[in-house]
Symmetry: C2
Amino acid sequence: MTLKKGKLFGIGVGPGDYELLTIKALNVLENVPVICSPRSSPEKESIALSIIRPILKKRENREIKSTSEKINNDFKNEESCNKLIYDEETNIKGNKENLKVLEPVFPMTEDIRMLEKHWDEASELISGHLNKGIDVAFITLGDPSIYSTFSYVQKRLEKNFKIEMIPGINSFTACASSIGKPLVEKDEILMIIPKINENIGNLLKEGNNFVLMKTSRNTEELENIINEQNVEKEITSVQNCTMKNEKIIDGFPKNKPYLTTTILKLKK
Amino acid sequence: MTLKKGKLFGIGVGPGDYELLTIKALNVLENVPVICSPRSSPEKESIALSIIRPILKKRENREIKSTSEKINNDFKNEESCNKLIYDEETNIKGNKENLKVLEPVFPMTEDIRMLEKHWDEASELISGHLNKGIDVAFITLGDPSIYSTFSYVQKRLEKNFKIEMIPGINSFTACASSIGKPLVEKDEILMIIPKINENIGNLLKEGNNFVLMKTSRNTEELENIINEQNVEKEITSVQNCTMKNEKIIDGFPKNKPYLTTTILKLKK
């Protein structure tokens, strides 16, 4: 008899507000035995993990409660009654019986060989669980199909394991909601641009509505190209969208935290 | 003393699967006194309304129960114990005490004067409630900022009323999840195209990843332009995404129901 393999979920947890999780994501995250949330450095918790903090808390309490009940019934030792604990050796945080939180490091680097090494390691860590028949939920900020680190793990594991993606709220639609304006109407084209480059002039010619993701990576020069467009334009930036420190700014902001998105509309 | 005005919510209910509602949308829809869901003809329920059917059922039961309890306690008449009823005159469906469902008609026409007349009427219907201090939730398929009928009502009411938009899952990210592939990675540009026209050639030149919304409106000629692109390409269409009758098709489909989206990737 062969063991049934676990299933990998790629779950979008939305832009920041816990309430922007979908019911589907919630149902999986409340029950899945392993949650994987990559972080950019060993010291920093990922934003995705901080978004689902209420679920972790709830599970922690539920699991402590159920373990306590078991202990009361069985008069067993209290060792398994621990809170979520961090196991340095395995890089695993969790109540040993019910929930494990894997936090592999995906460093912020452009060194592709170093990145591939980390993606390989994370995929191995995940497949170790899947091979034991344990389901794993990989969580990602926003949506798992849009500029997501999930893609790297997905490519490595899709041949051998069943994968289910659960879409999440994108930062750009959340930004439009925060601003309180439509992104696109009628037959308008929407262009999502993660990093503006020398083609920006052509793109500006072809479209009316643009989302510039990760504005923090833009250079002043490219912002100038946009500012110099000889048409009526609306430029609005949103920082830390739907989070407690959300900020909406007219134009391009001077200070640019990591989570800054700019919406650009050209009135041709 | 002036009456406090009601608030208008513009709520994205996602692509079709009830579980793709956000927690935030659920919280509002379970409690708001008036839900507005435009439909394309008087005979047809809107898809958005059919998605939130479980919430309507739950509220119906809850309200019947609470009304029955009241009757049992007070020995009052049973008139208010009705199920959701349809009032032909006011175009209002609802338990009179607790939930009203407004279903104004937004016909599928390109006659802009006729459309404006209907949008005006719907906005008046909604403002009638807001002016009485009653909150209204306008529901829309997908997300309220992306090609949504909500925009038309929003424009008419935003000067006089407080409006909150709640983002929803887009059809295109849901399609990517159903297909099980990323939409965009790294520094790739994503173009969302609602209606392909004579500029399609230029757009194809500038981008790699395209979402063609409402594929049903494409002509064969334009599909040929795409098919003739002399680069490796991946074309996948999704019909009725995340619904029970979801269908994933390689290339452009021959039969095109209203909810058909095509994802196009050019490997340049």
